[in-house]
Amino acid sequence: MANKLKLAVFKMTGCAGCQMEFLRLEEELPFVLENADIRYFVMAKRQNLEGPYDVSFVEGSISTPRELDELRELRSKSRILVAFGDCACHGCVPSILNWILPDVAANTAYEDFHAIHSKKESYRKICPLDEFVSVDVHLRGCPPHKNTILEVLRSATLGAKPFLRRHPVCVECKLKENICILTFEGRSCMGPVTSAGCGAICPTANRECEGCYGPMSDANASSLAEKFLEIGLARDDVTRKFRKYAGITPAFSQEAEKQ
């Protein structure tokens, strides 16, 4: 096929879980290879080609100047830039660090942080990609479900906008006919403010949603935080709930910072 998508997969500050989810396209691999030419994917390939690329998946947050330079270059070489997963979209759990003074974290981390630091590069805070460049697609989740990766590839092949849900997890939960654990059991479920896409796996497994897909569109976080206090959570518990996967987003940071 002449018009295969030129595809690239990059890693910044992340855990490789999103790339692993990409590689979980096992039965779907023939479809991927038919429609895409994987030009750059260091974890999977030894020969990696320079851009331009049609679709660049970028896993991880930006935490160093080197990553920022790479991201800017990548942006200029990519037609569609995908913030691939929670770290790239909202900083994910490492972003909790942003509320710890950098010097406290760094100087207590290594015996002599500056011995490494001076030879390498300065550490800065954990930032999502769109703090620096325009992002075409936010692929939420820790990790984003592989079906959403396929949706991005499919839509890019068709030249369409990907259909990614931003309604709450509750919609998926209702479709699974689960009984609401927040309303009926008084458990602190983040589902009402969290983007769907996972298939409501946590409530389905009798567990509170922890919000790993980040905020839904127009999330009413303050109402949920009030509900949490009402069912017996302490203020610290509420802060931990909202400062986990997406504590730096406007929707969640406000609740996390209330005293």
């Binding site: 890693k11 500050t13 992340g14 855990c15 490789a16 879980g17 999103c18 790339q19 692993m20 989810e21 590689l23 979980r24 096992e26 039965e27 691999l29 290879l33 994987i38 260091v42 974890m43 999977a44 390939k45 030894r46 020969q47 990696n48 935490s63 160093t64 080197r66 990553e67 759990v93 490492p94 909790i96 660090l97 710890i100 406290v104 974290a105 760094a106 207590t108 981390a109 290594y110 015996e111 002599d112 011995a115 490494i116 030879k119 390498k120 550490y123 820790c142 990790p143 996972c198 796996i201 946590c202 389905t204 497994a205 009798n206 567990r207 790993c212 610290d236 518990d237 931990r240 986990k244």
Partner: protein, 430 residues
């Protein structure tokens, strides 16, 4: 014979994470040799302070997307040890099932995706599709099985959700377990073919005796708990990890280097496990090892691939045994939060993994300490390279470079893990 040589790999491909190799040979001597990790640190131990005990395993899972399960289990067991929680046999068994699933998918990734292309002359598994379709299909099938096992028990393949303190929020359904059991039986042939395939590849002959360390248990092939043992006589309870091993900082790498106190660098991972626990492998795994002429102890680091292949057979056999015995019943998961300190060691696919936490009365973390397998192997990789490089002086530059990369890939380093950020005594006082 090349007496002057520069081997530089700016970004080592087909390993997890961001690392580089720099080796400079001058007048036949190694002047410079660095396995450098330039992936930025993520400071997990700093931000774990202040978090609740019930979310520690959920957070530390995010240290690594390739081995989230052993991170979760190490964290859960450390919390349980701190709070005096004794889990049920079913919980132990389901955790073993889940970790075996993680080992299968991670081993397949290393063997077929990361390592095999070097031995067959390809740049990636993707480029092997045309000429080695059967091999590629086998890899995808086994990898999917490993992922599905984790999903079956843990509710999600990557960063599972249902494993919690003192059990699982949801016990898998009998019918689903039965379906996976059938697939495990069917996959035995693929696992045997994997052993055969890797024993047919020509592994570099390179022996360097060093101390191998693994978990060991008298009852089973140890992956989730046991004693720390080594080929040089260490036998210690997992709580004594910090007495046996020490870490030092090196100025060129974000990963610390580990040593056995009073001795030197050491090797962890599949080769260490198989060397130290050969008799605990399943019957078929032992038989296949003998048929392939694999004898223990084996001190060729490249043979880690054979150990991985044998461990896949062992994992499948163990999973079938666990499934046949596990009752799959609902259990009481209640526990009391209390203050205390606890640690635990598990086997990640790439070697032993240590977690330690200290909690206040409210169950909030006061101190955290994590040592990952790749941080432990980092110095040993350099020591191997120091002997490997002179032995391949006759190879042309590109082949020598490839050989060094192959050695690194044999360790299956997980660089994200190694820069989770290291221990610090002061964080608790902050």
């Amino acid at each position: 014979m090349s007496r002057e040589r520069d081997i530089q790999v700016g970004y080592i491909s087909r390993v997890e994470g961001q690392g580089s190799l720099e080796i400079r040979v001058s007048s036949g001597n190694i002047e410079e040799l660095r396995f450098e990790i330039f992936e930025p640190p993520k400071f997990f131990e700093a931000f774990l302070v202040g978090r609740h005990c019930s979310e520690v395993h959920e957070l530390t899972s995010r240290i690594c997307g390739i081995c989230p399960v052993p991170h979760q289990i190490a964290a859960l067991r450390a919390v349980e040890n701190a709070m005096g929680i004794d889990v049920s046999d079913q919980t132990r068994d389901l955790r073993r099932l889940m970790n075996y699933g993680n080992h299968i998918q991670s081993h397949i990734l290393n063997l077929y995706f990361l390592a095999a292309p070097d031995y067959l002359g390809y740049e990636s598994l993707l480029s092997m599709v045309k000429e080695h379709l059967t091999t590629v299909k086998r890899a995808l099938k086994l990898k999917k099985l490993g992922n599905d096992l984790v999903e079956l028990v843990g509710g999600r393949a990557i960063h599972p959700i249902s494993a919690v303190i003192n059990g699982f929020t949801k016990i898998p359904e009998k019918e689903d377990v039965e379906l996976v059991r059938k697939r495990l039986l069917d996959a035995k042939q693929d696992a045997r073919d994997t052993v055969e395939f890797f024993s047919s590849l020509e592994m570099p002959e390179f022996i360097r005796k060093c101390e191998h360390v693994a978990l060991s248990s008298p009852e089973e092939f140890a992956i989730n708990e046991g004693f720390l043992v080594s080929t040089e006589g260490i036998r210690a309870e997992e709580q004594r990890y910090r007495e046996c091993f020490k870490e030092t900082q090196v100025d060129y790498s974000w990963s610390k280097h580990s040593e056995i106190v009073g001795r030197g660098s050491f090797l962890v991972g599949p080769l260490a496990r198989v060397n130290l626990n050969f008799e605990r492998l399943s019957h078929d795994a032992k038989r296949l090892a003998k048929e392939a002429g694999f004898r223990v102890p084996n001190f060729n680091p490249f043979m880690a691939h054979m150990a991985r292949a044998l461990e896949i057979v062992n994992a499948i056999d163990n999973c079938i045994d666990i499934i046949d015995a596990v009752p799959l019943k609902e259990e009481d998961r209640s526990y009391e939060v209390r203050s205390g300190m606890g640690s635990a060691v598990t086997e990640a696919p790439r070697g032993i993994l240590y977690h330690m936490y200290e909690f206040g009365e409210d169950g909030v973390v006061k101190k955290a300490d994590i040592v990952t397998p790749t941080a432990q192997n980092a110095k040993n990789i350099e020591n191997d390279l120091r002997e490997l490089v002179p032995s391949i002086a006759d190879l042309p530059d590109d082949e020598a470079t490839l050989r060094c990369e192959m050695l690194v890939r044999a360790y299956d380093p997980c660089i994200s893990c190694s820069v989770h950020y290291i221990n610090l005594d002061k964080v608790g006082d902050r």
